[in-house]
């Protein structure tokens, strides 16, 4: 593209915007608002995912053992468990240690434990899965393998809780996609109609351009450029608003006495920011594409 074309395109972009500034401001504001909504969802998604991921890291399978296993037997079991697929770390918790833990946890209600004649708690092995393998499927697989050991009395790995949260994450992803898709579709519709209004106001100019030999591409390019710019600006405004709101909320909820003070709430990543800007530009471009296609055919 040579200097003449570039200069001509940007002159016509400037003229388009300056002849109907409020229309273009409305289009930019619509894109900004839509991307802000998507950005809020992205932030929720990123933080909830991070939270659940950190919970997943702590997921471990506890194999409760039958009583009266010899030390050699326990050691042999440890070695067998360590060889199971996906297991990273095996920790033995003896009956005494289990009781000591319970005492620590119930330090304010120790009287409840005083009547016990003997330690009712079983010894156990805690199996930690390798990083990234804490999926419901892997946990179920490991549990079924552990159930095959006759020394294992019972298992505990919070499968109900884990499946519920996995289900929630799946639902949240789907809901985000649907809402994000709807917001994008509405924004494209609004942008397309904004361009259509601009085109309608400029139909005589477009007609004259055609009469002097302008191709469709020559007529369309400034509209595409203008909407890409509006999309980019909308994206930037959305990011600034999102970041401002994020900082404001962080200042409010992370005071020492606040409920969520220990939560590590993060802003969306650079990739997400770039994706939001790209989405704004795409929405602008696609809106122009739809309206120009029908306008120039007519």
């Amino acid at each position: 593209m040579n200097l003449t074309k570039l200069s001509s395109i940007f002159q016509r972009v400037r003229r388009n915007i300056s002849t109907s500034p409020y229309l273009h401001l409305a289009a930019t504001a619509t894109i900004a608002f839509s991307l802000l909504v998507i950005g809020v969802f992205a932030m929720l998604y990123v933080n909830i995912s991070a939270l659940i991921h950190s919970w997943q890291q702590d997921v471990r399978v506890v194999a409760y053992l039958k009583d009266e296993l010899s030390e050699e037997w326990v050691e042999s079991l440890r070695q067998s468990f360590a060889k199971l697929n996906g297991v990273e770390e095996v920790t033995y918790v003896s009956k005494d240690e289990a009781m000591a833990r319970l005492r620590r946890q119930m330090k304010h209600r120790l009287s409840l434990l005083e009547g016990l004649r003997e330690n009712p708690l079983p010894a156990s092995f805690e199996l930690q899965l390798v990083h990234g393998a804490q999926t419901p499927e892997n946990l179920d697989l490991l549990a079924s393998q552990l159930r095959g050991f006759p020394e294992v009395e019972d298992l505990g790995y919070g499968e109900t809780w884990f499946n519920r949260f996995s289900g929630f994450i799946g639902f949240f992803r789907l809901a985000s996609l649907i809402i994000g898709g709807l917001v994008i579709a509405i924004t494209v519709f609004v942008c397309a109609n904004t361009i259509r209004l601009t085109l309608y106001a400029k139909r005589e100019e477009v007609e004259i351009m055609r009469l002097v030999g302008a191709t469709d591409a020559f007529i369309k390019t400034p509209f595409y450029v203008q909407n890409l710019i509006e999309g980019l600006l909308g994206g930037l405004v959305a990011l600034v608003l999102l970041f401002g709101s994020f900082k404001f909320l962080i200042a409010r909820i992370q005071t020492p006495d606040a409920l969520l003070s220990s939560c590590d709430i993060r802003f969306i990543s650079f990739t997400w920011c770039a994706a939001l800007l790209a989405a704004g530009m795409f929405v602008g471009w696609f809106g122009s594409y739809l309206s120009l296609k029908s306008f120039l055919r007519s």
């Binding site: 003449t4 074309k5 200069s7 100019e205 351009m209 020559f218």
Partner: protein, 229 residues
């Protein structure tokens, strides 16, 4: 068939008809215009003069018959090629068709921008063509601030700026006083002397002595005869 005097035909019409519903605007016209002809198409209002020019400029499609411009069959030209075809011609519209939000410079430069010409060339060419029409001092004015005659001269400058091989003009001097009409015809003669084929649709017979030209008579869409001025 009425033919020109030159050897090389640039426009050929073969049994051309144009109908709008049951109304016939052009009725079985055969005409050949040769290179560097100066042609007046004349006739009363509603004779089909403007329609004929619109057919030549591909603003309308023929209902029947065939038009060849420089050997190109206009009925077979693809939609994407129409802009390229129009760039090879200049058209001075009856209502000028200037873009009101563009300055005089921008209106004329637009034609050169569509062909992707270098910006330095455009900056030289536009003032040059405006000098030809005597409007160099109005280069930054907007069309609504110009008189009818000035707007028409801008329209001629726009049509001439790309050195078209055919220039079509519709009711060229309808808005002009005698001096302005003389100036406009001076410009057309200048373009004609450089080899441009000129076709002017007019109902004003007083213009015929302003140029040595073929005069083609239309009436009710029919070609009724030809003479020379």
């Amino acid at each position: 068939m009425i033919t020109g005097t030159g050897a090389e035909p640039v426009i050929q019409l073969f049994h051309v008809h144009k109908r709008y519903g049951s109304q016939t605007a052009i009725n079985d016209i055969n005409l050949t215009v040769t290179k560097n002809d100066f042609v007046f198409i004349t006739g009363p209002s509603g004779a089909g003069k403007t329609t004929l020019l619109r057919l030549l400029f591909l603003q309308e499609a023929v209902s029947e018959g065939q038009i060849l411009v420089n050997g190109i069959n206009l009925q077979r030209i693809r939609r994407a090629k129409i802009p390229l075809f129009r760039r090879s011609m200049g058209f001075v519209f009856q209502d000028f068709r200037l873009i009101n939000s563009y300055t005089v410079y921008e209106n004329i430069a637009l034609v050169l921008e569509t062909t992707g010409q270098d910006i330095r060339h455009i900056r030289k060419k536009v003032p040059h063509v405006l000098r030809m029409v005597g409007l160099e001092d109005r280069i930054h004015a907007y069309p609504p601030r110009l008189s009818g005659g000035e707007q028409q001269r801008v329209a001629i400058a726009r049509a001439a700026v790309s050195n078209p091989f055919i220039l079509l003009a519709d009711e060229l001097t309808g808005n002009l006083d005698t001096d302005a009409a003389d100036m406009v015809f001076g410009l057309l003669r200048q373009l004609h002397s450089r080899g441009t084929t000129i076709i002017v649709a007019t109902h004003d017979s007083r213009l015929f002595d302003k140029a040595r030209a073929r005069i083609v008579f239309l009436n009710q869409g029919r070609l009724e005869g030809e003479t020379k001025s």
